[in-house]
């Protein structure tokens, strides 16, 4: 999709559409601590791969409609677990290397990671029940 550098600087406002920076969907204050946007490769290494707690990684894109629904839905459920699971959000256009490393071909792709390993994964939108089961499996086993 097109990027407009000058206008982004000019506006410096989060707006919907091509100029949007996806980081706004932070959810409630409780969710804020448990959900974060990955900044770069080493941030991913620190906060996801080396995380003592299991992490759910949400690979998404600005141009992806279903991602905009799945993201908040997943965040809500993660925040209900009160810190047992963390959620990392990765914009695949900003962090293409990471997306390629984890073989993301379509979005949304969600990985369940424990001790640096991918233990579970799904692609596409899921409803709340399916997401709850997915999260339960991650903390359970």
């Amino acid at each position: 999709m097109a990027q407009r550098l000058a206008l982004q600087r000019l506006l410096a406002l989060p707006t919907r559409g091509p100029l949007a920076s996806h980081g706004r969907a932070f959810g409630t204050s409780a969710g804020r601590r448990n959900t974060f946007n990955v900044q770069d490769g080493s941030d991913f290494q620190d906060r996801v791969v080396n995380s003592p707690k299991p992490v759910v990684v949400d690979f998404h894109a600005q141009w992806c409609g279903p991602c905009k629904i799945l993201g908040p839905r997943l965040e809500k459920l993660v925040s209900k677990l009160e810190g047992k699971v963390l959620m990392a959000k990765v914009d695949i256009d900003d962090h293409t290397d990471l997306a390629i490393e984890y073989e993301v071909s379509a979005v949304p792709t969600v990985l369940a990671m424990k001790n640096g390993d991918v233990v579970d994964k799904f692609v596409g939108i899921k409803d709340e029940d399916q997401l709850e089961a997915f999260l339960k499996k991650l903390i359970g086993a």
């Binding site: 990027q3 407009r4 550098l5 406002l13 141009w63 992806c64």
Partner: protein, 610 residues
């Protein structure tokens, strides 16, 4: 004053000499009558080593080149021999080097010293580049693609996929569709649809939806390159040496890469007017398709299909659009059809100013941030001068869209360093019928080709076939004859084969029979839309069984209609075969199966009834 000879262009000659030395394994500056030169050529022939000899006695500026060589090598005489860029000397020196083995060392045995990093490096990740890369990778080769978008003057940039996907065919057709839907809404009431709401168009919603789709295509291309194991670099590629490029990414980091073969697929970018303010205040198609605010009252400068298509859909979305044309519409296309395209646009709300060019741009009102948020662009005053006298026009517009042509991206990629010739007038690359440039290991495809059609499917086909010839043992060449095209103006124009003017020049008017017809699409009858506006014609070669050599149609869905007939033309379609083909009723396309009236007869083709 008479008697004065032109001074040699020393810099140009030095460059030419250095390029020759760099581009040939063995370079011999020679004279055709010189026996020592012949001896040296014999030596290389006996070694089965190819050489390139420039005969200075029959070359323009030969004497000056000899002077340049003196400067470079301190050697006044010919033959002057270079091997892999190293100066050997004359005949004696070359024989000496052969005897003591140093010549063979310089020649490096059969191969150039280091193996190349890649089999194939493609500069440009558009329609042609990507198709070629995937085909070559599928044939087992190690391939790299470099794609880099230099931002427009106002900062617009885009992802992988080239012009078609990002700022060409795809968004164009989608916006054209948006405009057609507006027309359909108007027609719908006549078909019984009743609704109270006033229907209006929201530019931002349309752009966001289209950009989201394009984003998914960009990602799709990245994934497909990865799946086919093609290395992709989002870097600007330029040649620094034979077989070697320098790749610079957005952050300025530089890497170097070598390959046995290169393909140039760098495409084109819009040309600006060359008057002050054009880059700061005007936009082009590169900016239009992602413009975050509605363009408002727009002046489109140009009469290319880009200009007319953009003007067309903007008017269809309800904007106030004017097209400023310097001379004719759709240069290169059949002019009768071009004028009909323009006439339809004019009766449908597009203003035309013919035979004028903009000369002064003056910003009346800068777009403040608040205004941009509300979707209001600034205001630009345009002063235009007539090409046909001294008349001046002045008018204010919110947006000026420049669409006067596109220039090939070949000037700044180091082609002169490795000796690849380009057409200096238009920057395009001349190639033979195997898409090979004058430098044997460098090929070119797509919009940058000199004298070929600028179309995505042509680039894709050329790219695929090139890869198959290089690595798949194929000998199939790209067929540039009878390529169908469609201009997606509000009334679409599809064509395949010759424009009428060209057919007349090529075959002679007396050897052609042109059949034509006006027609009224059934769907237009109920809403009472333009009768006797849609038009179709075929041009037949009387000397070849009335072979259809040109087919043209102006009407809805022209692209869909033309595609099938293009295949028929490839099979040698004749008028008789068309007459034998039974039409599908009720369609627009069937008009081709019932054409009886020739232009020559002068009969009236106005439709009266069904």
């Amino acid at each position: 004053p008479p008697g004065q000879t032109r001074l040699p262009d020393w810099d140009g000659l030095k460059l030419r000499v250095r390029t020759l030395i760099a581009s040939h394994r063995v370079m011999i500056f020679s004279k055709s009558y010189c026996p020592y030169c012949n001896k040296v050529k014999e030596l290389f022939r006996s070694m089965h080593v190819e050489y390139y000899a420039l005969e200075l006695d029959v070359t323009d500026d030969g004497a000056s080149i000899q002077q340049v060589l003196v400067e470079l090598t301190n050697q006044r005489t010919v033959p002057n021999v270079f091997v892999n860029g190293t100066h050997i000397g004359g005949c004696d020196a070359t024989y000496q080097a052969y005897q003591d083995g140093s010549l063979q060392k310089l020649l490096g045995g059969n191969q150039i010293t280091e193996p190349y990093e890649y089999d194939l490096i493609i500069i440009g990740g558009g329609s042609g580049g990507l198709a070629c890369s995937k085909e070559a990778a599928a044939l087992g080769k190690k391939v790299m693609v470099l794609d880099y978008v230099v931002p427009t003057p106002i900062g617009t940039s885009w992802g992988l996929g080239g012009t078609c996907v990002n700022v060409g065919c795809i968004p164009k057709k989608l916006m054209h569709q948006a405009a057609l839907l507006g027309q359909a809404l108007q027609d719908s009431r006549k078909y019984g649809w009743q609704y109270e709401e006033q229907v209006k168009h929201n530019w931002e919603i349309m752009v966001e939806a289209i950009q989201n789709y394009i984003g998914s295509l960009n990602w799709g291309y990245r994934v497909s390159l990865r799946e086919k194991s093609v290395t992709y670099l989002n870097s600007y590629g330029e040649f620094v040496e034979p077989h070697k490029i320098k790749a610079t990414n957005r952050k300025g980091q530089v890497t170097y890469h070598t390959a046995e073969t290169f393909v140039l697929a760098t495409g084109e970018r819009p040309r600006y007017l060359g008057i002050p303010g054009d880059k700061e205040f005007c936009i082009t198609s590169d900016d239009l398709f992602s413009l975050p605010y509605c363009p408002g009252k727009t002046l489109v400068v140009g009469a290319s299909y880009v200009a007319l298509e953009c003007a067309g859909f903007m008017a269809g979305l309800g904007l106030d659009v004017t097209v400023m044309v310097r001379s004719i519409l759709l240069r290169g296309f059949d002019q009768e059809m071009a004028e009909r395209v323009g006439a339809y646009m004019e009766t449908h709300g597009v203003k035309f100013i013919r035979k004028f060019v903009p000369v002064i741009l003056s910003l009346q009102k800068f777009a403040q941030v608040e205004q941009l948020e509300q979707g209001m662009p600034g205001r630009l005053k345009v002063t235009a001068k007539s090409t046909d006298g001294s008349k001046i026009l002045e008018e204010e517009y919110n947006t000026v869209l420049i669409a006067i042509g596109r220039d090939a991206c070949t000037r700044n990629i180091g082609l002169q360093t490795i000796g690849v010739k380009i057409n200096e007038k238009n920057g395009k690359v001349p190639v033979n019928d195997e898409e090979q440039t004058n430098v044997p290991y460098v090929y070119a495809i797509g919009d940058i080709l000199d004298g070929k059609l600028e179309l995505t499917p042509v680039a894709i086909q050329a790219g695929r076939l090139l890869a198959q010839r290089l690595y798949g043992g194929s000998s199939r060449k790209c067929d540039y004859i009878n390529v169908p095209t469609t201009v997606f103006t509000p009334l679409e124009y599809g064509s395949c084969g010759y424009p009428e003017e060209k057919a007349i020049t090529e075959y002679g008017k007396e050897n052609l029979e042109v059949y034509h017809s006006l027609f009224w699409p059934l769907e237009w009858t109920v809403p009472g839309r333009d009768n006797n506006t849609c038009y179709a014609k075929i041009i037949c070669n009387k000397q070849d069984n009335n072979r259809v050599i040109g087919l043209h149609i102006l009407g809805p869905n022209a692209g869909e209609i033309t595609q099938g007939f293009a295949a028929a033309i490839k099979c040698g379609l004749t008028k008789e075969l068309l007459d034998e083909t039974i039409g599908i009723h009720p369609t627009c396309a069937e008009v081709f199966t019932t054409m009886d009236i020739t232009k020559a007869s002068g009969q009236d083709i106005t439709q009266k009834g069904c």
